[in-house]
C-alpha cells in the first residue's frame, strides 16, 4: 500500500496546480478592469492608476498569476475588493456554519438512506421496494429551492413550528437549541436530496452482496435472517458506499449555496452570492480555490480510507 499512497499523493500535486490555474483563469475572463468598474468615476485618473498599480493590475496576466500563487502557497488569498478584508478571514468567518449545515445534512441523508436501502434490497421487487425507489427518485428530482420554499410556507409561515430562516433568533441566546431549531429545515432539504441518491446505491450494493455464497453459508449455519443481513451482508455492502460519500462533498458544497440563500444561512453560499453581487473577484477566486481544494483533499482521504478498509483492492 505504501507505493500506492505515494503515487496517489504525487498525482494530487499537478491536480492542485491545475485547480489554481483554472480558478485564476475564470476570474480573468471578466470583461474590463475591476478598478474602472468599482471606483467612483469622480476619482481623478492618476489616483485610479495608483490603485491599479497597488493591486498589481498593470502587471501582465502571468505575473499576476504567479504573485497570487505565491500568496496561495503562503496561505494568503489576497484582499476583498469590496471590504478590503483578507479573503482568508472572510472565508474563515463563514466556513463554520456551512460545515455544520453540510455535515448534518450528510449525516441525516445517510441515516435515512441506509435503512431504506437495506429494506428495499431485502424486499426487492415487492411493492415496498417500488415505493421506496420511487420516493428516492422524487428526492433527487425535486428542486431543493422549491422544497425549501414549500417547507418555509407550511412549517414556518402557516404552522409557525419552525423559524423561516437565519441561524439564530434575533436577541436570542444563540445556544445549541436555538441553532438546532434553525438547522432543521435546511438540513431536511439537503439531507433529502442526498438520501434520494444514496438509497439506490445502498440498495444496489446490498443486492450485490446478498447474492453471494458466504451469505448462503451464514444462512445454512442457521443464523437468523436479521443477523445475516445486518452483521454479514451490511458490513461488505457499506464499503462501496464510502467511495460514493466522497462524490457527495462537491454536491454538498454546491447545493448549500441555494439552500443558504433560501434559508438565509450565514455561510459560504451567502458569501458567494454577496461576492457575486459586488463583483468581488479576489473573494470569488478564493472561494473556488478553497472549495476545489477541499474536494481534492476529501477524495484523497476517501481513496486512502477505501484502500485501508477493503482488502480486495489491488495496488497496481
Amino acid at each position: 500500500m505504501g507505493p500506492y499512497l505515494v503515487r496517489r499523493l504525487l498525482i494530487a500535486v499537478p491536480v492542485f496546480w491545475g485547480i489554481t490555474v483554472l480558478s485564476f483563469l475564470i476570474m480573468n475572463m471578466a470583461p474590463g478592469n475591476p478598478v474602472d468598474m468599482f471606483i467612483n468615476p469622480n476619482v481623478p485618473p492618476e489616483m485610479r492608476e495608483l490603485r491599479k498599480e497597488l493591486l498589481g493590475l498593470n502587471d501582465p496576466v502571468y505575473v499576476q498569476y504567479f504573485k497570487w500563487l505565491a500568496g496561495v502557497l503562503r496561505g494568503e488569498l489576497g484582499y476583498s475588493f469590496s471590504s478590503y478584508a483578507p479573503v482568508t478571514e472572510l472565508i474563515g468567518a463563514r466556513i463554520g456554519p456551512t460545515l455544520l449545515l453540510a455535515s448534518s445534512s450528510l449525516a441525516v441523508g445517510l441515516i435515512i438512506a441506509i435503512p431504506i436501502g437495506i429494506l428495499s434490497a431485502v424486499k426487492h421487487n415487492t411493492r415496498l421496494d417500488y415505493l421506496m425507489t420511487g420516493l428516492s427518485f422524487l428526492g433527487t428530482s425535486i428542486p431543493p429551492f422549491f422544497l425549501g420554499l414549500g417547507l418555509i410556507y407550511i412549517l414556518g409561515v402557516e404552522l409557525k413550528w419552525l423559524p423561516t430562516g437565519g441561524m439564530k433568533t434575533l436577541g436570542g441566546d444563540g445556544g445549541f437549541a436555538d441553532i438546532a431549531i434553525h438547522l432543521i429545515m435546511p438540513v431536511l432539504v439537503l439531507g433529502m436530496t442526498i438520501a434520494g441518491k444514496k438509497v439506490r446505491y445502498v440498495r444496489a450494493s446490498m443486492l450485490d452482496v446478498l447474492g453471494q455464497d458466504y451469505l448462503r453459508t451464514a444462512r445454512s449455519k442457521g443464523l437468523s435472517e436479521w443477523a445475516v443481513t445486518n452483521r454479514h451482508a451490511l458490513r461488505n455492502a457499506l464499503i462501496p458506499i464510502i467511495a460514493v460519500i466522497g462524490a457527495e462533498i462537491p454536491l454538498l458544497l454546491g447545493g448549500s449555496i441555494i439552500i443558504e440563500q433560501v434559508f438565509q444561512w450565514p455561510g459560504i453560499g451567502q458569501l458567494t452570492m454577496e461576492a457575486i453581487l459586488s463583483r468581488d473577484y479576489p473573494t470569488l477566486m478564493g472561494l473556488n480555490l478553497v472549495a476545489a481544494s477541499v474536494v481534492l483533499l476529501t477524495n484523497l482521504l476517501i481513496d486512502i480510507l477505501y484502500a485501508a478498509v477493503d482488502p480486495r483492492i489491488e495496488f497496481n
Binding site: V15, L22, P143, F146, G150, Y153, G254, I276, Y281
Partner: protein, 307 residues
C-alpha cells in the same frame, strides 16, 4: 452488419440462451424489440416517456398554445387565477400560464443543447484517453480531475456571473463542467473493449484508428452514454433552474422556470400569491422526474451490466 450489431448480438445471445436456449443467433431487430419490451415493462419509465413527450410538445408549440405573449403586459396585476388568466398574472401583469409554457421551452432547450455539447466532447476525450493510454490518458485524466474538483453549482454560478448571463454562456458553462463524467465513463468502457477479439481483429486488419474507435468501440459504449445523457438532461434542467432561481441564469424579462420562482423569496409572494411559484416548481419537478424515470427505464432495458 456492423460491430454495433455484433456487440448487441452477443449481449442478446447471452440473454436469449438464458431464456429459451435458442441456438440461432437473433437478429439486430430482435435485440431492438427486446429493449423496447424491457422498457415497456418498466411502468414508471413509460409514464416518464409520455410526460417527456408532452412537455416537449408544450415547449415546441408554446407560441401557438400560449394564450398571451410571454412578455405582454396585460391590465391585470398580481391577479389570481381566473377564466381570462388560467394561472393568474405576475406583479408586472404578465400571464403566468404563457410564461410557464415559454419557460418550459427555454429549460428544455438549455437541457438538450448542453447535454449534446458535453456528451460529444466528453465521449471524444474518453475514447482518446482510453484507446491511446500512456501519457495521453494520464494527462487527460488529470484534466478531468481538475474540472471535477470544483463543486458544480459554485463554479457554474461564479463563471456565469463573471461572463455575464446569456443563453449561450449558460449553456457553454453548464457543459464545461459536465463533460468529465462522460469522459471517465467512456474511457472505462474503452479500456475493457479494446482487449476484445473483434477490436483486435480490426487492428490486425489495418483499419484506421478513427474507424476502430467510432465503428467498433463506440457502439459498445452507446448504451451507457444514452443512459448517462438522459440523466444529464434532468440534472442540467435542475442546475439551470437553480441558477435562474438565484438570479444568475436566464434573465428577466425572458421567462424561465427557475426565475419564476425567484420572486417567491419574498414572503408576500410566498404566502399570498402561490400561483406565481407553485406551478413553476411543479413543472420543474415533473420534468426532472420524467427524465430521471426514462433514464432508469433505459438503464434496465439496455441491460446496463457495465453501467
Amino acid at each position: 452488419m456492423n460491430q454495433a450489431e455484433l456487440a448487441w448480438r452477443k449481449d442478446a445471445m447471452d440473454t436469449e440462451r438464458r431464456h429459451d436456449g435458442a441456438d440461432d443467433p437473433p437478429s439486430f431487430e430482435s435485440y431492438a424489440r427486446q429493449v423496447r419490451q424491457r422498457f415497456m415493462r418498466h411502468k414508471v419509465a413509460v409514464w416518464g416517456l409520455a410526460t417527456t413527450l408532452l412537455l416537449l410538445a408544450a415547449g415546441l408549440l408554446a407560441p401557438w398554445l400560449a394564450p398571451y405573449q410571454p412578455n405582454e403586459i396585460t391590465d391585470a396585476f398580481s391577479a389570481g387565477p381566473s377564466a381570462d388568466y388560467l394561472l393568474g398574472t405576475d406583479q408586472v401583469g404578465r400571464d403566468v400560464l404563457s410564461r410557464l409554457l415559454y419557460g418550459t421551452r427555454v429549460s428544455l432547450l438549455i437541457g438538450f443543447t448542453t447535454v449534446a455539447i458535453y456528451v460529444l466532447f466528453g465521449t471524444l476525450v474518453g475514447l482518446i484517453a482510453g484507446y491511446y493510454g500512456k501519457w495521453i490518458d494520464m494527462l487527460l485524466m488529470r484534466i478531468t480531475d481538475i474540472f471535477l474538483s470544483f463543486p458544480y453549482m459554485l463554479v457554474v454560478l461564479v463563471m456565469v456571473s463573471v461572463l455575464g448571463a446569456s443563453l449561450w454562456t449558460i449553456i457553454i458553462v453548464l457543459a464545461l463542467f459536465k463533460w468529465p463524467a462522460i469522459a471517465m465513463l467512456v474511457r472505462g468502457i474503452v479500456l475493457s473493449l479494446k482487449k476484445a477479439d473483434y477490436v483486435r481483429a480490426g487492428v490486425a486488419l489495418g483499419y484506421s484508428t478513427p474507424r476502430i474507435l467510432l465503428r467498433h468501440i463506440l457502439p459498445g459504449a452507446s448504451g451507457a452514454i444514452i443512459v448517462n445523457a438522459t440523466f444529464g438532461v434532468a440534472s442540467t434542467i435542475l442546475a439551470e433552474a437553480g441558477l435562474s432561481f438565484l438570479g444568475m441564469g436566464v434573465k428577466s424579462p425572458q421567462a424561465s422556470l427557475g426565475n419564476m420562482l425567484h420572486d417567491a423569496q419574498s414572503l408576500t409572494v410566498l404566502t399570498e400569491q402561490q400561483w406565481l411559484w407553485l406551478p413553476a416548481g411543479f413543472i420543474i419537478l415533473l420534468t426532472v422526474l420524467a427524465f430521471n424515470f426514462v433514464g432508469d427505464g433505459l438503464r434496465d432495458a439496455l441491460d446496463g451490466r457495465q453501467l
